[in-house]
Amino acid sequence: MKHLFWMSVFAVLTAVVFGVAAKGTERQKLMYGLKVFGEFLAVALILGWILYFIPFR
């Protein structure tokens, strides 16, 4: 859970900056920030499950 927590904190902070720096209306910025946050979480979870099934040892 610690991994997920810190990764989520990272995703929130990064998404906020990306959203603020994006071009467009306030609503477009908000949607972009939410999209970035969702993408961070989705990619991390997908990669996590892929790596879980790969036998490294």
Partner: protein
């Protein structure tokens, strides 16, 4: 004729106001300051605040800042230089830590050490983005 004029206008060099460079510099030096000086309160709080929080969390998690020590050999210097460039993006936060020798010791025994490193690196990189945003606003390229 009209088309020629439009093309000509598009290629005319646009002079960047000096204040834009100052805003960019201020934004780099103190995260959020570039937007604060331009009275963009919400942007300053969100973007600058995120960089501050990320940097302080990085230190708290046990991450370490990179610096050139002079002992690097050959291409080994790149392994220090590239992350150092990212860290320097945090502006005076990095300078203060460097002067006070805070965060430069490796603490790999701490379980959150890698998270801390990542937070510190990305805080600097995000601040470059925030500084560019402040520069663009001051130059009139962005609202």
């Amino acid at each position: 004729m009209v088309a020629n004029r439009i093309v000509k206008e598009k290629h005319e060099p646009v002079e960047t106001p000096r204040v834009a460079w100052l805003m960019g510099l201020a934004a780099w030096a103190v995260p959020g300051a570039g937007h604060l000086l331009q009275r963009r309160w919400l942007r300053a709080a969100l973007a600058g605040g995120s960089v501050w929080v990320m940097f302080l969390l990085g230190l708290w998690l046990g991450g370490h800042l990179y610096a050139l020590t002079g002992n690097e050999q050959g291409f080994g210097v790149l392994l220090q230089l590239l992350p150092m460039i990212a860290n320097v993006g945090s502006g005076l936060l990095y300078v203060v830590c460097w002067v006070a020798n805070i965060g430069f010791a490796e603490q790999a025994q701490i379980s959150t050490y890698e998270y801390g490193n990542t937070f510190l690196l990305v805080a600097g990189l995000l601040n470059y983005l925030v500084a560019l945003d402040a520069f663009d606003i001051a130059a009139g390229r962005k609202k």
